[in-house]
């Protein structure tokens, strides 16, 4: 068995058990009958592997990239490392390990915190991206400067995705970039938004929570380019934004360029729904800060993850928009 990379060298993706696997039934038991019955059920059904969850195809694609990276750079530790991060009791541990074995996943690291918050462990593993079904934990992670998103079970219809090429799609504002422009739009409307963007075309946008993750993907892509594998690169990234190519899109592209980043494709929808476009792209995961877009994408079969960041969030208490934004400039590893 080959060595597992050290956390500080790898691109660590932490996934909770409920997004990696489908644990709907068990979750229901937990909510209706409590912890004891839930754990008893898990132990009784230990030999029954869980079905794949929303993050499963994404994780499989990460492994495909690793295989290609190992072929080209056998000594390197710059690989994806998937850690199972769950605050489940370890009583459910055997069923999770059996499931990992059944699906032949390459997950060797896990934390079952027995009810304690996993947030500290995310830091201990130098986590680059955290995916969970629990929006509270995702918010906590974002507040700690860790890229994170909430995943939901996609409806029955699921777009088929590639098993050999990892495809990741990002919204722009409040995901790759800060939410400053969205705040203008929310407060003053569309016209003011366009005006503002035109005036500030040459001013760089600030970093958003997923900028670091895009950067990590870009770093890996360059490793394939260096070995003449640009056309056959197993990683492809997309910007899918409501901005318009004619106007407000310029600022987004200029910002990315100045960061030394790029996406393979940039799709400016000028406010049109994202679902149909995503259906064509077939990403393994799509990150957006607005639930409306996440749901829209999901309905058409795309696995979409919600980044609860910025002014678009409807918090239970009306907090001022500024409070929920965190400076992500130091977040990249």
């Amino acid at each position: 068995m080959w060595g597992i990379p050290k956390p500080q060298n790898a691109i660590t993706i932490a996934v909770s058990s409920r997004v990696l696997f489908n644990m709907d039934k068990e979750q229901q038991i937990y909510e209706q009958k409590g912890m004891e019955d839930y754990l008893k059920y898990q132990i009784e059904h230990e030999m029954e592997p869980f079905a794949p969850g929303p993050a499963f195809p994404f994780v499989k694609a990460l492994e495909a990239v690793n295989t290609r990276l190992r072929e080209l750079y056998p000594e390197s530790e710059e690989l994806f490392d998937v850690v199972l991060m769950t605050n489940s009791h370890a009583h459910a541990g055997l069923r999770l390990i059996n499931t990992i074995n059944h699906h032949q996943l390459f997950i060797e690291r896990f934390c079952m915190t027995g009810g304690n918050s996993p947030i500290g462990y995310l830091k201990a593993y130098h986590t680059n991206l955290y995916l969970s079904a629990d929006p509270m934990k995702v918010r906590e992670a974002l507040e700690e400067g860790i890229a994170a998103a909430t995943m939901f079970n996609p409806p029955e219809k699921r777009t088929e995705v590639s098993e050999t090429q990892l495809r990741v799609a990002f919204d722009g504002d409040a995901v790759l970039f800060s939410d400053e422009s969205e705040r203008i739009f929310k407060a003053h409307g569309l016209d003011k938004f366009f005006e503002h963007e035109k005036t500030h075309e040459n001013t760089l946008l600030d970093h958003g929570p997923l900028k670091g993750f895009l950067e990590s993907l870009g770093k890996l892509q360059k490793k394939f380019y260096a070995k003449d594998q640009r056309l056959d690169c197993p990683i492809r990234t997309y910007l899918v934004t409501a901005r318009s190519a004619a106007s407000s899109g310029t600022r987004a592209l200029k910002t990315l360029r100045s960061w030394g980043l790029e996406t393979d494709e940039a799709l400016f929808l000028a406010g049109a729904p994202k679902g149909p476009m995503l259906e064509k792209i077939r990403p393994h995961i799509f990150f957006d800060d607005q639930l409306f877009h996440v749901e829209g994408a999901s309905q058409l079969g795309t696995v979409a993850a919600h980044v609860p960041y910025g002014v678009a969030q409807k918090l239970p208490q009306q907090k001022p928009a500024k409070e929920n934004t965190k400076d992500f400039s130091a977040a990249t590893k």
Partner: protein
């Protein structure tokens, strides 16, 4: 030859039924840099203090549930100090109200014999070397984890972490360790760890079952530092067979242990008896 002194302030446990652990005096009270003759003030608290307090909480909760409970922790303080310090140690234990059943004063060379003749289930020390040496000599031992942040030590819950590498290990694994260059002495430590953990795990399982899933003053965990997830699974199954269902489980696959341990904050860690583990590549 040792001198065993009963602590008059603590109700004596039934040593045959209790979980007898021996703790080094240097762990409970900070060793003094300068020995001042005739000093009488209490000794300063050592690294194992939060452990002592946590043990007390467990014992108290057990007795609250059942005043006739015999499955309690029974602590023996093991001291190699000079005679003039003995009374001061006893007085300090009284001063802090520590739940120490007996004081065992002996020479360093006689320590092992004292441990073996007093039905000690585990010798606990904050020094990794001492723990490994004890294991290598066949004495069941575990590490009292030195928590670096004094403001974050847990005193109201005792945490015990077992080694998945030890419990889930196979003969092939021992062979693999030999090939990796570990000496027979070190491997003896591993074998002792494996041989002695069962008894302690069974006792912890029994004790853990006295409490419910949540709000337990005793929390158990499994940590697999360098073995694969299958070894971890094997360890979980084995522990369950011994009656212990752990609360937390961690599989590190070679990742540095300190950042994780600083979050888990265990009091007792059952080591694998080998020395340096950082930088170890994971093996199946």
């Amino acid at each position: 030859m040792d001198s065993m002194v009963r602590n008059p302030d603590v109700k004596q446990r039934d040593a045959a039924q209790a979980v007898v652990v021996a703790v080094s005096s240097d762990a409970i009270f900070t060793p003094e840099v300068e020995q001042v003759h005739g000093a009488t003030e209490p000794l300063r608290k050592g690294d194992a203090f939060s452990f002592m307090k946590a043990i007390q909480v467990v014992n108290e909760r057990l007795l609250t549930l059942n005043s006739d409970e015999t499955l309690l922790f029974d602590v023996i303080l093991l001291s190699n100090d000079s005679e003039e310090k003995h009374s001061r140690i006893i007085a300090s234990a009284k001063h802090y109200g520590l739940d120490i059943g007996r004081f065992c004063f002996c020479n360093k060379e006689d320590s092992i014999e004292s441990l073996q003749s007093n039905n000690v289930k585990l010798f606990l020390s904050t020094d990794t070397n001492d723990v490994c040496k004890a294991l290598q000599k066949g004495v069941p031992a575990a590490l009292l984890y030195h928590q670096t942040d004094p403001h974050h030590q847990t005193e109201d819950q005792l945490k015990v972490v077992f080694s998945g590498d030890v419990i889930g290990s196979s003969e092939e694994m021992l062979h693999g360790l030999r090939e990796q260059g570990f000496t027979e002495t070190q491997l003896q430590g591993f074998k002792t760890a494996k041989g002695s953990v069962k008894e302690f795990a069974i006792l912890m399982g029994e004790m853990r079952r006295r409490f419910g899933l949540e709000g337990s003053p005793l929390c158990t965990g499994l940590m697999t530092a360098w073995s694969s997830r299958d070894v971890c699974a094997s360890a979980l199954k084995t522990l369950r067979g011994w009656g212990l269902l752990v609360d937390e489980a961690f599989c590190l696959a070679g990742a540095p242990r300190s950042p994780i341990l600083n979050l888990v904050r265990p009091h007792i860690i059952c080591l694998d008896g080998l020395y340096h583990m950082e930088g170890f590549t994971a093996m199946s």
